[in-house]
Symmetry: C2
Subunit: 384 residues, 2 copies
């Protein structure tokens, strides 16, 4: 398994390798076409990042040969400046266009009778309706994305380094009174500087940074975005969060920390969270069913009396996004394999006390797992 950090864009062979694996699986499923609309899947196969709006980008992959990329005319130079690998561009003039010139007309034309057409679970109804032929729900690209190539592992290793450095800086500058605005600006500046030093032409459309913290009165509610004037305070638990897609590859690192002192009520939850965290690092290796990891974590929390304090699964996948399938979740029956990447983030939440969650991004190796993000995590080290 290649373990050198990489920050250059993929070579055409990386992209054509992905296409070959997609077409091989299409053959296995008896598909004549695969229609990909989900922007992260399109990015994976083209290196071109887009956002969903009323001018869609749709990738039409035939059973063999070059994909056809349906794009707005306006975006041709943009597509040409970023896309890697062989593609036929099929442009439409605008949306809405006069009759016959709309994206759905072009798409229907390109697919012809269609035969058996693979479509993603998230495919829009308006795209489905433009496809003649039999529409088969399947998520081949999502499935391929689960196991990283050596190139991707190098990218994620570098992403993990940058995220870890940003978290180290957040902790080094943590002090009562420090505001959310200051923390976000400092972390994002550091991440951007590292990315641009690596590669001056990073793609801002493939970059998405979340650099925040929650002080104790909010950290029990991990998706709280209610108070833009949050400030660090004496005590804790604070939860610091770096979740970042950096020029196309993601990493996440989170730390629970205290300023000055650890409230008594926080000691046992912290210790139990650490036990759950170590359990995940211990359990994750090829061959283990994902649901088993989450079930074991939840059993540990329940045994400690924290069954009512669970809000989420033990971890999620990571790759060209910072949050994707598969999942270390009781409902995910898939099997862990070398080359997968996950967050490890078992957490417990106590209104009136706060939230307890570290997160690190790991790579599943042949024999276990390896941290792509890293940094101190003990209660002693996290009392600043």
């Amino acid at each position: 398994m290649e373990m050198t950090p990489i920050h250059h864009p993929p070579h055409p062979e990386e992209i054509s390798g992905r296409l070959s694996r997609l077409q091989a699986e299409m053959a296995a499923q008896g598909l004549d076409w695969y229609v990909s609309f989900q922007p992260d899947n399109v990015y994976y196969l083209t290196n071109f990042a887009n956002f969903v709006h009323e001018r869609p980008f749709v990738l039409l992959v035939p059973a063999s040969g070059m994909p056809v990329f349906v794009v707005p005319k306006l975006e041709i130079p943009h597509v040409e400046s970023r896309a890697i690998g062989a593609l036929t561009l099929l442009d439409y003039v605008e949306f809405p266009a006069p009759e016959g010139g709309n994206w759905f007309d072009k798409l229907a034309e390109a697919l012809g009778d269609g035969g058996r057409v693979g479509v993603e679970s998230v495919c829009q109804m308006q795209i489905l309706e433009a496809i003649r032929g039999e529409r088969v729900r399947t998520d081949i690209i999502d499935d391929l994305r689960m196991v990283k190539t050596p190139y991707e592992i190098g990218r994620m290793l570098r992403a993990g380094q940058i995220a870890s450095a940003a978290m180290a800086d957040m902790l080094a500058t943590a002090t009562p009174g420090r505001s959310l605005g200051e923390v976000t600006a400092a972390a994002n500046r550091l991440i951007y500087a590292a990315m641009v030093a690596d590669n001056p032409s990073i793609n801002p459309q493939a970059t998405k940074l979340t650099s925040v913290f929650h002080p104790a009165q909010y950290s029990h509610d991990p998706h709280n975005f209610g108070d833009l004037d949050m400030r660090m305070q004496h005590g804790g638990p604070h939860v610091g969060i770096i979740n970042a897609v950096m020029d196309g590859y993601g990493a996440e690192i989170e730390r629970t920390f205290f300023l000055g002192e650890v409230p008594d009520a926080a000691r046992k939850p912290y210790e139990v969270m650490m036990q759950a965290r170590h359990l995940v690092f211990e359990l994750v290796k090829p061959g283990v069913v994902m649901s088993e990891v989450d079930a074991r974590v939840n059993a540990l929390f329940r045994a400690a009396g924290y069954g009512q304090n669970l809000l989420h699964r033990a971890g999620h996948g990571m790759g060209v996004t910072a949050h994707e399938a598969p999942f270390l979740a009781e409902g995910d029956g898939r099997v862990l394999a070398a080359g997968m990447c996950f967050t490890v983030e078992p957490g417990i939440y106590f209104p009136g006390i706060g939230g307890f969650r570290h997160s690190d991004t790991i790579l599943v190796t042949e024999t276990g797992n390896l941290r792509l993000t890293d940094g101190p995590d003990s209660l002693e080290d996290m009392t600043l």
Copy 2:
């Protein structure tokens, strides 16, 4: 038509009025349920903003009575802190969940047999498959959103004021050498400060700012994001862009400007762009077909010899997003009505010379239109 700027969140009556209009149209279309998944539509009906990921938020609107909002358990406090209006929350524990506990199980349960179910054009296949009963493609909420309420007009007036101030500042500080990073940071800081002064608990999830410029060598390619180190230069045309959703309401203002001198090759395109702009302001009034506006603009450009320099329609809708239906486009056969909001942005593009486009956001009034963003636009004023 109410014309006082507003910056407070909607009152429950504003939201229930929208729900009533939706249910009235559902009755007219013979629908038992309406399933809304598109985040901007959900926001319009609930004041709750979300991003699409693997834990979906789905709003189920019955023929009468309170909507049911299918949400992840993790997000209940977040939903409760932002939602306005009567809602029944139906939570699911996680994704994926053990069998029977997934979002699609909850959704199917709540809809029961379903009867006739209205679904959006952008509805995902995986949601469609969870709906028993007859699925009817219809976009009632998108249609309702086209005509603004007095509350919304007040919000958009305020959004226009903030965007105009940010553009005035971008122009006042424009100087050769000024970088994209400086421009983006300064404009976004100004916009955030204005929003937070209005309302300290603005919703960052309902806020999305694009504050950029393109110098002459990129401005011919309006969706170019290739060079993060762009800098302003002597001459031009530069195109400055403020496109912002500010705590739930959008505005756009763009200006073509020059630093120090106007190249000779830029004079005629600028003049023709201004003629097209004035033509749109003149044409937009209730009763006019949208395609007619764009066709007249394109005819004007073609008559000037610029038929090959067109890349996009004359304008797009604006509301809870900064880019939405309907469109001043040759393919849009809808009719202009009082209370609609559009950008006015006819543009022409010349590789080797640059792009020529101003944009302003307007409100269609009973007799014509009114600018929600404003600022100087003459060649003299735009030569800085």
